[in-house]
């Protein structure tokens, strides 16, 4: 009785609040990833993404320029430069040259170096190293800085992932490979499933109910169970590893859900329309093409989204059925794993690549979602 006009259910607020909480919970990791993709590696390693917008006090270890850059000015060996490469430099609060005492000095003071010589550091990050003897070694001197870092965002990661020649060839190739897998692996099952679903929904033949039950049964078979036998079969009949194999595998794993989904949708279409088109003289094929298919867009769109997302994000099936020794068929998910694995925690690259790879599914979703909500049957019956 709570839904009567004028009576607002007290649970409504509970529902609204829980929805809001759930949405926020779900969005937080994505937001974190997005923010991280605009930060530098240093920022990511020193502070959390939620601190990206505020000025924070941080302890950072910086290095001066290398000894090979030293100049001789007035008979003394000098290295000078800016500690921070970015334009908006942080304000240095304290600094030190030893890891035991990182805040011994304030900006403007001069410190003695352990290996000889001295260094002075200004608040804006300008350093000046002077020594009577030449500086030795291959690396610059470590400087420990306690600084308040202003918020800073960079597009460098995207430049790196999308345009850096070293990355771009691998990433672009992986992107194309993924598209080559995902598009046919979405279209093929839809084509097969739509025909099957029509037959199972509207054509009379013996054993139809059993067949439907069998397909529903297939829904619960875990795909991991079929990986090895299927791969063996592919090898035996000569498909081998490659795109054809992965398309077939995705098709097979997607079909039960596709048929089930589409059949249930088609069965719900008004019987009168189909009977009328039969009286109008349409064959089963014509009924399917001209009446059923245009009416089934919501179900087709729903399944396309599922299947595309699943094939786009898939790593397992691609690993088993696709990768060969040539390395020409690496998909994006595998490339991401590579980026993370080989460079040991390049989080900024990982976050950026993840966002680059999200773009396509988002486009697919937003183009198809309008079909999901449209009332296609309006005006047809009654």
């Amino acid at each position: 009785m709570n839904n009567l006009v004028g009576h607002k259910s007290s649970l409504r607020w509970a529902v609204h609040i829980s929805v809001a909480v759930l949405v926020v919970l779900w969005l937080i990791p994505t937001l974190g990833l997005l923010v991280s993709s605009f930060r530098t590696a240093d920022q990511i390693s020193t502070s959390g993404w939620w601190q990206a917008l505020v000025t924070t006090e941080q302890n950072v270890i910086m290095r001066t320029a290398k000894p090979q850059d030293q100049q001789i000015i007035d008979g003394k060996y000098v290295i000078e430069g800016m500690l921070f490469s970015s334009k908006k430099s942080p304000e240095i609060l304290a600094w030190g040259v030893s890891s035991i005492a990182i805040d011994d000095y304030i900006p403007g003071e001069t410190a003695k170096l352990r290996k000889g010589g001295e260094i002075s550091l200004r608040g804006d990050g300008y350093y000046h190293m002077v020594s009577d003897k030449p500086f030795k070694g291959s690396r610059g001197t470590r400087v420990f800085v306690k600084a308040s870092m202003p918020p800073e965002f960079t597009l460098d990661n995207y430049r790196n992932v999308l345009f850096d020649p070293a990355n771009v060839s691998g990433m672009a190739k992986a992107f194309l490979s993924t598209l080559t897998v995902a598009i046919p692996a979405t279209i093929i099952p839809i084509l097969i499933a739509a025909f099957a679903a029509y037959a199972l929904a509207w054509m009379q033949f013996p054993g139809r109910a059993l067949l439907v039950a069998f397909i529903v049964g297939l829904l619960v078979v875990p795909l991991q169970m079929a990986l090895i036998p299927l791969l063996k079969l592919h090898m035996q009949i000569g498909i081998g590893k490659g795109f054809l194999g992965v398309w077939l595998a995705h098709t097979g794993f997607g079909l039960p859900l596709a048929i089930y989904l589409l059949r249930n949708y088609m069965v719900g279409l008004p019987k009168d329309i189909i009977e009328n088109s039969r009286i109008d003289g349409a064959t089963d094929f014509q009924i399917f093409m001209k009446i059923i298919l245009p009416l089934s867009f919501p179900a087709l769109a729903a399944f396309s989204i599922f299947q595309f997302l699943w094939t786009w994000n898939d790593l397992l099936v691609a690993k088993v059925f696709l990768f060969d020794s040539s390395g020409q068929t690496v998909v994006m998910t595998a490339k991401l794993v590579e980026l993370l694995g080989s460079k040991g925690g390049n989080w900024e690259i990982l976050a950026t690549s993840a966002f680059v790879s999200i773009v396509v599914p988002l486009i697919v979703f937003f183009t198809l979602q309008k079909y999901l909500v449209r009332g296609l049957l309006t005006g047809s019956v009654k």
Binding site: D272, S380, V381
Partner: protein, 364 residues
Amino acid sequence: MGHIQLNNVCKSFGTTEVLKNINLDIQDGELLILIGPSGCGKSTLMNLIAGLEEITSGNIVISGSDVSDKSPKDRDIAMVFQSYALYPTMNVARNISFGLEMRKVPKDEQENTVNRVAEMLQIDHLLDRKPGQLSGGQRQRVAMGRALARSPKAFLFDEPLSNLDAKLRVEMRTEIKKLHHRLGTTIVYVTHDQVEAMTLATRIAVLKDGVIQQLGTPYEIYNDPANHFVADFMGSPGMNFVECVVFEDKLIIESGSQNYQLAIPCSDAVKRSNLESVILGIRPEMLTDPKPHENNPYVHEVEFNVEVIEPMGADTIAIGKWNGVEVQGRLSPESGETAAKGFRLQVDTSKAIAFDPRTGQRVR
């Protein structure tokens, strides 16, 4: 040429017999109404004629050829569904021409037909619209137009007006009648509305539990019903049924605490049947306020205790009791206003009929 014959047609779903031995001979150009309460099998019978369901036994002959095993498209019939079943993704013109398209009629001929039909049904300004943009009445017209486009041997109408509001239904009823006069095509029309049946039909077939109770013209069905069911089903307000004791050749009723003897035309048959009591069937319009008459032996005057009056505008229904059973009379609005206990009611039994109380069959 649409001459439809149903010979001993039976239909069962599993063990349930839905239609039992139906024999119907629908003449060319006839408008045959199938009427009956819901669940009587009338829509199933329609589907059998259309070929949407298989007959269990018997055969169906359309224009001399046996179509029992032919698919719907080969029977050359057109159907209008109760739900209209318009193709929602196609515009009105395409809806109308779809049947022609499927039969590979040339494009320009399709266009001519669409225009002709649209003009006939006054929907020519709607041809570009989708069904979703039409009102209920317009959708109904499109559904009819789709059937008309193909000029088939026969039309099957499955309760085509039941989704319209009362006023529109009356309008479309007239329109269908005009259309039938103009086209002269056989129409089989399913309805549960007895007014529709009476106004439209050339002949009416009354169905109950899968059996045809009576087949006849509207006049026959109304005035000469075969049994209690048909008499009860047709007419609004319905026929009065009162069980009466037979006394010689008359029937005894008790009205207004007095007993009356009513003479009825079928008294010989009643006598012959040796029944102690029969059910008297008499239509409300035979129970009126006193009118002048010429010494008619079937006109009686009885005292009637009016319990309820229901003014209908043109006349007033007065409800009282005979033999403890509710009886409706049709009075003029003037006398209806003052009708009360002890009203003098004129009863004309010249069209009264009698039924066997046990079987419900006519006594004649």
